[in-house]
């Protein structure tokens, strides 16, 4: 990250970023107009910094400094390396959609099956006709930048009543160093459908790169959706991802985020419960070390009555790493009988580790049950001693307690196979630490 800043300097005119990339950005002239407008918004705001309330703890001007130029479109050699990464990171039995340096790689993806099962198209194809995909209600600088620069992404339309037995895994692979990838995906789930979406972010040799991803999800009534995001970008990378989720009535939405990589990362999720009787379970784990900075910001908006939301987040912070969790629960005036709970716990493994937990409730209805809690602390010495007295070396004793700590969030993943997969990721992180 610092290397990149030193190389290109902060003084470069930002509009270079857009003009130099424009020829590679897909879309009709209407799309181009939307992109230009979005870029102007970004240019006016610049990178988010600490004086913007939502970004107070994640000052990208200080942490990142600048946006790197767009990564080159992958050539045959790059795709060959990506193929190896896909082998290493694909989940057993999942249907794959692979994006390499921000560009969809059909030859590495299960296109045929997903066109049939989930109405798959690329963002690139979709933008030929429709500019709506680039629009969101947000005025956030990073989201505007994403709209301006998005090169590709996946568009899924899961039909009413479709029950997808295989998870759909969207794999983002970074190969180009000192470059940016901008992706944007849209997932529309019909009524009464069942599906599992997994997003995986990994590097295959790339260094000091930047990822800016946006995912727009719309879930129809009576659906049952699991959405798992696994971010393990390179230790010197940046990843900023924005989720916009709208949930219909009587839906079960099970979301989980795992952060194990990137020097600087932020997942900002905006989830609106727009239909009655829905249950949202939104959980996550940050595993951070060295000087990593990991931010999870989640806004859960109860727009209608009779919905339940549960949020359990765990952060494990070693060395001089910094974890941020901002959780806001909004209960609109009509949203009576809302039941919203949020519990955040941070485990500090070193004296220099830092956790900022900011839970917020904004309640405008009078008949609701809402609560939040936030704690930060070290490993319990009495538990550590007990384990050591039974023969476990210090690091192994710590690992067992850390597993138990994050387990409280991981066990919220409803699907057995996915849960085991995530436990495996946590175990490998702990092994790396030893």
């Amino acid at each position: 990250m610092n290397v990149a800043v030193a190389k290109t300097g902060k003084g470069r005119a930002v509009s270079d970023l857009f003009t130099s990339a424009e020829g590679r950005l897909p879309g009709s002239s209407a799309v181009t107009a939307v992109r230009r407008e979005a870029f102007e918004t970004y240019e006016r705001l610049g990178l988010p910094h600490r004086r913007i309330e939502e970004w107070k703890y994640t000052d990208l001007r200080a942490l990142v400094g600048e946006v790197l130029p767009l990564a080159a479109a992958p050539d045959a050699a790059v795709l060959k390396r990506a193929a190896d990464a896909v082998k290493a990171h694909a989940m057993d039995g999942a249907r794959k959609l692979v994006l390499v340096d921000g560009v969809f790689a059909a030859e590495l993806s299960d296109v045929k099956a997903l066109v049939a099962e989930a109405g798959f198209r690329t963002l690139r194809e979709t933008l030929e006709k429709d500019a709506a995909l680039l629009k969101t209600a947000s005025t956030d600088a990073m989201i505007s930048l994403n709209a301006a620069m998005a090169t590709d992404g996946v568009v899924l339309s899961i039909a009413d009543g479709a029950k997808l037995s295989a998870p759909i895994q969207i794999i983002h692979i970074a190969i180009a160093s000192s470059a940016s990838a901008f992706t944007r995906s849209l997932i529309t789930v019909g009524k009464g459908a069942r599906a599992t979406i997994v997003e995986t972010f990994v590097a295959a040799g790339a260094k000091a790169y930047q990822v800016n991803d946006a995912v727009l999800v719309s879930v129809g009534d009576d659906s049952d959706i699991a959405h798992i995001r696994l971010m393990d970008d390179a230790p010197d990378a940046m990843n900023v991802s924005s989720h916009f989720v709208t949930v219909g009535a009587n839906v079960k939405f099970n979301f989980f985020n795992m952060t194990t990589g990137a020097a600087v990362s932020r997942l900002q999720g905006f989830i609106t419960l727009a239909g009655e009787g829905s249950e949202l379970s939104a959980n996550g784990v940050n595993l951070l070390q060295k000087t990593e900075h990991g931010d999870t910001t989640l806004v859960v908006d109860h727009a209608v009555p009779n919905c339940v939301s549960r949020e359990i987040f765990r952060a494990v912070i070693d060395d001089r790493a910094h974890s941020v969790f901002q959780g806001r629960i909004i209960v609109r005036p009509d949203a009576q009988k809302t039941d919203g709970k949020m519990m955040i716990r941070a485990l500090l493994l070193s004296d220099e580790a830092e956790a900022d937990n900011k839970p917020e409730l904004e309640i405008f209805a009078d008949d609701v049950s809402c609560g939040h809690g936030a704690t930060a602390g070290a490993l319990d010495d009495s538990l550590l001693f007990y384990l050591k007295a039974r023969g476990l070396p210090e690091k192994q004793a710590q690992a067992l307690l850390i597993q138990a700590f994050v387990g409280e969030a991981i066990e919220q993943i409803a699907d057995d196979g996915l849960r085991e997969h995530v436990i495996g990721i946590a175990e490998r992180w702990l092994e790396r630490r030893q």
Partner: protein
């Protein structure tokens, strides 16, 4: 050679000296009871032998099979064969008992350069021991000691003792919080582990426990020292006359 030799041990906790020169020798196969009033330093002794942080040894030695125990990490002591049955076993939510037992046993075996137990061998062993201690299998699936009764926690300690096969067992106030039936089950478990190679140090405030675990030697501790040692009849004597005679000294 003695199994455990504590020589003129002086221990401080936050500037306050708790043990003022304690000497104790335990040979293989022996069961020693250490009795004494609250605050006499009984638990401090057990913690220092096991390696609990927070105690500063200012003088003296603790030798185990001739090696300096105080130089070792708690896990190294465990692997060498020292086992402390805790007065208050901790609850560890999220760590399944079975997983804990296997991890601990294999960590000890690894430290000794032995092969790890295979899963079937391990399961067989746990099943065998837990049955004799009246520990139901579903207890082993729960988090370590989570939701266990006082008796179940102590039985879990005895289960570990049986699995790890230590050469020195220190039982710290094993009777605290147990009713007579629970005490009997735990004591039977301990008695089953008595062997010519294994020594035990039973720390207790009350004589009652020693009806079930009959010691070879009884020591009376007061104010951080062993003030009297004798046979098992010393415990009965104490039960009749109390600790006041030693505290006055």
């Amino acid at each position: 050679m003695a199994l455990l030799e504590v020589k003129d041990l002086k221990v401080r906790v936050e500037e306050r000296e708790i043990l003022h020169g304690l000497t104790l020798t335990v040979n293989e196969g022996e069961v020693h009871a250490i009795m004494g009033p609250n605050g006499s330093g009984k638990s401090t002794l057990s913690h220092v032998i096991a390696g609990k942080p927070g105690y500063e040894v200012t003088d003296g030695q603790v030798l185990f099979k001739g090696e300096d125990l105080l130089e070792m990490e708690p896990n190294e002591r465990a692997a060498k064969g020292v086992f402390l049955a805790f007065q208050y076993p901790v609850e560890i939510p999220g760590v399944a008992t079975m997983n804990f037992l296997r991890t601990a046993l294999n960590a000890q075996r690894k430290a000794r350069g032995e092969d790890e137990y295979s899963t079937p061998d391990f399961l067989r062993k746990v099943r065998e021991v837990s049955k004799s201690l009246n520990i139901p299998q579903d207890m082993l699936k729960r988090g370590v000691n989570v939701g266990f009764s006082g008796g179940e926690k102590k039985r879990n300690e005895v289960l570990q003792m049986a699995l790890f096969e230590p050469s020195l067992c220190i039982l710290d106030e094993m009777d605290s919080g147990l009713d007579i039936d629970a005490l009997r089950i735990a004591a039977d478990g301990v008695n089953a582990l008595r062997s010519p190679e294994r020594a035990m140090v039973v720390i207790t405030h009350y004589q009652r426990l020693l009806n079930y675990i009959v010691p070879d030697v009884v020591h009376v501790m007061s104010k951080g020292r062993v003030v009297k040692s004798g046979g098992k009849e010393l415990a009965l004597e104490l039960e009749a006359s109390g600790y006041a005679q030693f505290e006055a000294a």
